[in-house]
Symmetry: D2
Subunit: 376 residues, 4 copies
Amino acid sequence: MPSTWGKIFKVSTYGESHGVSVGVVIEGVPAGKRFPFEEIQKDLTRRRPGQNDLTTPRDEEDRLIVESGVFQDKTTGSPILLKVNNKNTIGSDYDEMAHVFRPSHADYTYSEKYGHRAHVGGGRASVRETIGRVAAGGLARVILEEELGVQTIAWVDQIGTIPSNIDDTKYPISRDYVDTFPTRCPEAYANTQMESLIRKLRDEGDSVGGIVKAIVKNLPPGLGDPVYDKLDADLAKALLSISACKGFEVGSGFLGTEQTGSQHNDEFYIDRNTGQVKTRTNNSGGIQGGISNGMDLIVRAAFKPTSTIKKEQKTVNDQNEDTVLKAKGRHDPCVLPRAVPIVEAVINLVLVDAYFYQRALQPKWLLKYAKMDQVT
Amino acid sequence: MPSTWGKIFKVSTYGESHGVSVGVVIEGVPAGKRFPFEEIQKDLTRRRPGQNDLTTPRDEEDRLIVESGVFQDKTTGSPILLKVNNKNTIGSDYDEMAHVFRPSHADYTYSEKYGHRAHVGGGRASVRETIGRVAAGGLARVILEEELGVQTIAWVDQIGTIPSNIDDTKYPISRDYVDTFPTRCPEAYANTQMESLIRKLRDEGDSVGGIVKAIVKNLPPGLGDPVYDKLDADLAKALLSISACKGFEVGSGFLGTEQTGSQHNDEFYIDRNTGQVKTRTNNSGGIQGGISNGMDLIVRAAFKPTSTIKKEQKTVNDQNEDTVLKAKGRHDPCVLPRAVPIVEAVINLVLVDAYFYQRALQPKWLLKYAKMDQVT
Amino acid sequence: MPSTWGKIFKVSTYGESHGVSVGVVIEGVPAGKRFPFEEIQKDLTRRRPGQNDLTTPRDEEDRLIVESGVFQDKTTGSPILLKVNNKNTIGSDYDEMAHVFRPSHADYTYSEKYGHRAHVGGGRASVRETIGRVAAGGLARVILEEELGVQTIAWVDQIGTIPSNIDDTKYPISRDYVDTFPTRCPEAYANTQMESLIRKLRDEGDSVGGIVKAIVKNLPPGLGDPVYDKLDADLAKALLSISACKGFEVGSGFLGTEQTGSQHNDEFYIDRNTGQVKTRTNNSGGIQGGISNGMDLIVRAAFKPTSTIKKEQKTVNDQNEDTVLKAKGRHDPCVLPRAVPIVEAVINLVLVDAYFYQRALQPKWLLKYAKMDQVT
Amino acid sequence: MPSTWGKIFKVSTYGESHGVSVGVVIEGVPAGKRFPFEEIQKDLTRRRPGQNDLTTPRDEEDRLIVESGVFQDKTTGSPILLKVNNKNTIGSDYDEMAHVFRPSHADYTYSEKYGHRAHVGGGRASVRETIGRVAAGGLARVILEEELGVQTIAWVDQIGTIPSNIDDTKYPISRDYVDTFPTRCPEAYANTQMESLIRKLRDEGDSVGGIVKAIVKNLPPGLGDPVYDKLDADLAKALLSISACKGFEVGSGFLGTEQTGSQHNDEFYIDRNTGQVKTRTNNSGGIQGGISNGMDLIVRAAFKPTSTIKKEQKTVNDQNEDTVLKAKGRHDPCVLPRAVPIVEAVINLVLVDAYFYQRALQPKWLLKYAKMDQVT
């Protein structure tokens, strides 16, 4: 099961929902960086379930543990192991699912692929797998913030058919502001509607999907590596590797396909204040030819409704028999609020690797764009 | 510029629009396979421009050349170099673009990233780069067809606001049938409308975007490798690595986000004829938990309108000055018809690598799903 | 610090001598294999210090901990985290070395490379780093034994100027027999001389080097991947990546350079009993053209004397001043006995990866050479 | 057949002795570098056969062809394809070897691995495969020379039992000086003896082995990446991946195993002229803990005698029958002189990749050690 990712800032995640721990080994971390324990812990806390009544009641503390690579609060250059222990044990809730394939879940495909099932909590298909990526993404985030001034912010842009109607070019959104809304949709009216919808579906034993949008500010031009590691290609892979993600857009995305070139093209101009090259529109979403262009990077990720629901469903079992299933286990009626920090994490993992690759090959770019006093 | 892709069936592409040649080195090809020269040539011919009046008039023969790895029509197990020579030389059309950044093109970002511009024909950002992938994808296609019976078919599903209205579950589409339509939208009425739109925009010096849809039939369950090499994640990366692609969907994609779990879940049942596990709906698009489930794999890719247009546009030059540009060079008013074989190629590259990885780790899966007399 | 290794059976090790734990994440493990906990524990116990008075007195239990990837004693296909907790804390012995570069140790180079020193116990340069590899190597060993019947056996072939004089073609050596000798040189007279030499040098505060030889029996022909992953090239890298290793030989090695082709060539013949192709001599060491030929694989690795000694040495400190050093910390007068299981482990890691790669590309080879009832 | 190498400066070689061409695709080359066409051509010419009567008479011009990645004599950042066309066609000399396995050659192992034989000239096992590496190594060499001042020089240190007796610490050797000797052993008396020996064995239809030694001067401290990409580990792999190489040593190598730590340790001192840290002896061979220490890097590689000889040998054929073989084809009685530029090339490939990785993670190291006006 390939769980290694990145060319230079390389992460290897491990762990399943009901093993001893879940975590990540990170190699390719510069030596001599302050290790941002508190920032990473904060990211993990944002990700964990049980933060309010909209998410699964499974409440685990998710305390960050560092087992290597850090000495006296600084990175040593050695691989860093970050992990969180699992606390909950296997519940009897899962017994009935031991031999029944949950519709639209990974039960059947894991069974066909590996010739077995880790039915307990979905095993590696559990969203708990993302802990390693959120931890590593937290480290990536701080490196990007400190060395380049980059800010990555995600929020819930739609739940079911309820849009956020947020125009991110109009007013700045911060991660802290996003967190003041239980749905992580930072628009009061939409948030209220979304809350009602989620509660209603939860009570019905049903679930709902939605869209997360993310913006990356202050990203310098020049990151991303055509042709195979184009920034948008790597972001697409990163987002689709999150459970339940079914779609990806950068910039104008699917809607842009309906336009003509003269409508869609982003005209360049010289910003009189800064002397920098900018574009008047941003249909490109901050990426042209697979490389960041200095404008805000904008992506959207579609998440399907949670597949584990309490309503009765027709399905089959591992004896090749038709049957019905009415799930009892804990589940999230809507993964969107918790997907927000995961989306940010995988974006930051992509960006930091593109950054390190760029400075490997064109070090003078660094002198132009980085805060050199922060660089190792 | 990272141009290597794949874990086992690994491709390294090279070449730019106006160099000597463009091509690919493929390592990880089993020895003893028939080398499908004609099939690959056919795929290259489908990709090349100038096939009808809808595409760029640049007409190159794109003849396949094999420089290594094949002996007496069989693969030897050694790396295979496939290439096509470039014939056209640099035209004076490009002179005026030497110092002007074309809006929404990769000129500016290449300049910031690499500190230079290969202004002649877009260099590596040219769609001509895809020749290597189409050639390698042709070899991948034949391996998948012969050993697993897999069929990958793509078509134009939308141009501008004109949808194809094709229900692929109703009647089977073949690659040959798709090719009978100049737009590669295999629905007569939509094709006619699309043709008119493309001609109109071409005459105006403008361009238009659209959507390519692809289906993979007879894909056995078990391909794709969570958590980072999920089949849909790798497909997303593959498609977004094609120039002008701005969005990706698998199965229900963005529309599925509006549904509830009970609407969206694909119920399993036992097919009475075959005894196989199937799903009644296919919102999953043939992938669950990142692994193929034996149903048709369905993806869609959004392509923005071609950025090079002949209409006058405001922009800046490499002296940091505002200016205007009216492009003169050859250009495609709509890349969609030619994107079809490229989309198929990158899908087949993803699938063959997932297939080889699966048989590396679970060889007995092979005995269940492959035609063993075709396997080396 | 790149600590990921392998194409398919991929290991990522982490941990330093005085962190919380040292270990490894293994991806690319087939699902459904019995997890050989006891065998791996045995390999770890063979590696640990303090087994007799010839090695460093640091006595840690080195108990294997499994945190993921195993369920009900079987591999699940998910990444497997294996680790051992560190018990000893940082001793004051290391204080004096905090600012002094130990001659021939990695202190100075780590300082120049990373801009810092993890002076406590050598950090990642400590032999304790090998725990992750020995654990992963134990899993590799059992896969190779069960599926192919492969036996990897190493022993001490020389210490200082004392040779073992063992002719491994004459009588079979087993791992258990090797372990009956404190020096792991399985020849009684040589062992006695070596013991005396090590004790003498230990008492003088000095150290000594030597050579480990390894043989791999029952290795089928066809493993190893020219041109860059030739079996001998990968073995050379694996062995040189062990601390203190300064040389590698396969088959005739350096002595073979003095011969003519007619002396050195290994003539083929048909074994009348088995009908198999064999060679009368084995100067090739079981590898021809980078691929195993079915004969015993034979390699040798040279280890320099331990660099940490108690004798006074001239050196410099991190203030760029000349100084003297008389080390006080625990140290091994001779690493050779403990290098034996490490050498076996890295050989098995190379072999299992070559095996998985071979079956990815030429699965029918598997039907010829593997015990299919043991294969997943 | 894995033929991709390197983490950042990544090379993919292709081609066999009797295909259309042999060459390499290099990705990970900084944009904006002068492309050293003449220097690379010179390296290729040094490698080619037929330079004097000591080597195989096969005389091919080996003219460098560049098909991508270079524009107006500068690198563009895109993958660079370098190649040399093959001129000689398949001779009837090879017919008799079509079904007979040459002793100690790769015929039998290729046959068992791939299920076929490319008997014509050894296919990918031919030394002609090294052309791609020599070309890429030439580019690496110039980058290292221009940006760091590094000089890599190899020579023949022994042929058969004739040593060179060269003390490289006493007088400086240059590549040009080495080339004034037909054997590339830059010591007049030894060269004469070696010439005689090679001619004698050639006339007898026999062959002989030997040792190549290489020194890298002006290598800054800090290159090489423990634990798996230690500089000496990567060098060992690089050298062992050259055909006929059977052994590797760094610094004191196998002889160092006979010493005590107090004899072997390299004491540090401050060089009064430069203020730099140096060692009085160099048993470490310029590498400590897998990282360069600023002293001369010194390695040795053992090459077995050429396996293709004209003397009659017993062997078997592909019908599993005992037979005899008397080879007729062209062959080199001694590969050592031509191995010299190949050894340099693979060393430079290892070094440039370590250099790029180091500047990716510790860019400030660059400001200390590189000539910044030469860096992109």
